[in-house]
């Protein structure tokens, strides 16, 4: 069976590669240095590291969509914004 029907591009392959690396990295981090019990953050939610990664990723997706919908200009700005957002999530949520 070929994979041509999946229509891979370098851009999307990189995207999924980064996600896979993030997951692998989080697993290694958890094995080396367990994150322990969930933390009660500013949103009133009990979150572990994995939850925070999920919140960061989902939020980033919406930041990118919002950027495309409302703002003009290169998408790198949205990426930057997402990184800031993720750092905040990991720090405070």
């Amino acid at each position: 069976m070929g994979l041509s029907w999946m229509a891979w591009t370098w851009e999307t392959a990189t995207f999924f590669g980064v996600i896979a690396l993030l997951l692998a990295g989080m697993t290694l981090w958890e094995i080396k240095q367990p994150g322990g019990a969930p933390r009660h953050g500013v949103l009133g939610l009990d979150t572990t590291r994995g939850d925070r990664l999920f919140i960061s990723l989902l939020g980033s997706a919406f930041i990118h969509l919002g950027w495309l919908a409302l703002a003009a200009g290169p998408l790198w700005w949205a990426l930057g914004l997402s990184l800031v957002y993720s750092v905040l999530v990991f720090r405070y949520v």
Binding site: M6, A7, T9, E11, T12, F16, D46, L58, L65, L68
Partner: protein, 287 residues
Amino acid sequence: MEKTLNNKAWFMVLPVLFIVALNAIVPLMTVVNYSVQDTFGNNVFFFEGTRWFTEVLHSGRFHASLQRQFLFTFTILVIEIPLGVAIALTMPRRGFWASVCLVLMALPLLIPWNVVGAMWNIYALPDIGLLGYGLNWLGFNYDYTQQPTAAWFTVILMDVWHWTSLVVLLAYAGLRSIDDNYYRAAQIDGASRWAVFRHIQLPKMKHVLTIAILLRFMDSFMIYTEPFVLTGGGPGNATTVLSIDLVKAALGEFNLGVAAAMSIIYFLMTLLVCWLFYTIIMQGEKE
């Protein structure tokens, strides 16, 4: 009861993981790939970047079907949840008649979705269907194939017919878990019907009701077959909800890129709501 830590449990989950990943991740990756490219068939693709996303996010057509989708989901939740609770409260609690009620009520849940659509398609026709004929006989001018309002009414009535039983079953299951002694105590205290509902029955149903709302939200958000068979999205675009629009774009117009971009936006919204509900349920269970 504390669960024991055992990372070998992963091996028991692996088969499930494999089969679901095959079904979920491979197609999802393909959709993402499609969403950044254009094609004229024959597996020839051109990279387009985020063009489709920008197009979809600014398209009036997408906004319109999204709005219709939210209107639809909101309406059926407002009707089905209270109705389902009311029926569960009034139906017999146990014994022969409870079984009869359960079997009859579960029946619509087991009818293939296109049969549901086809059934209502004829049932609501003004000349030969019971519902359409009856409404016109009562003096309403009703023809769902021509009037957008009538089409909306029919689609919503069909969904209420199809899915209220799910809410009934869930609420009934919640009510069954209440011990009879509670009712006896309430009777001795001379509690009103409302007080019994407010302080005994509602708290017991809270958990199952959250699940009911979650399930009804998700299922109505991805509804496709029934309204498609019933009205085909018409008259005009009056009942074109998200999924119908999506399939139209993908298979009807072969706009793979647009359809894929729509899919992803759609999927992200479902994921967000799903996560919110799940978090609420889990936090509720902890308390």
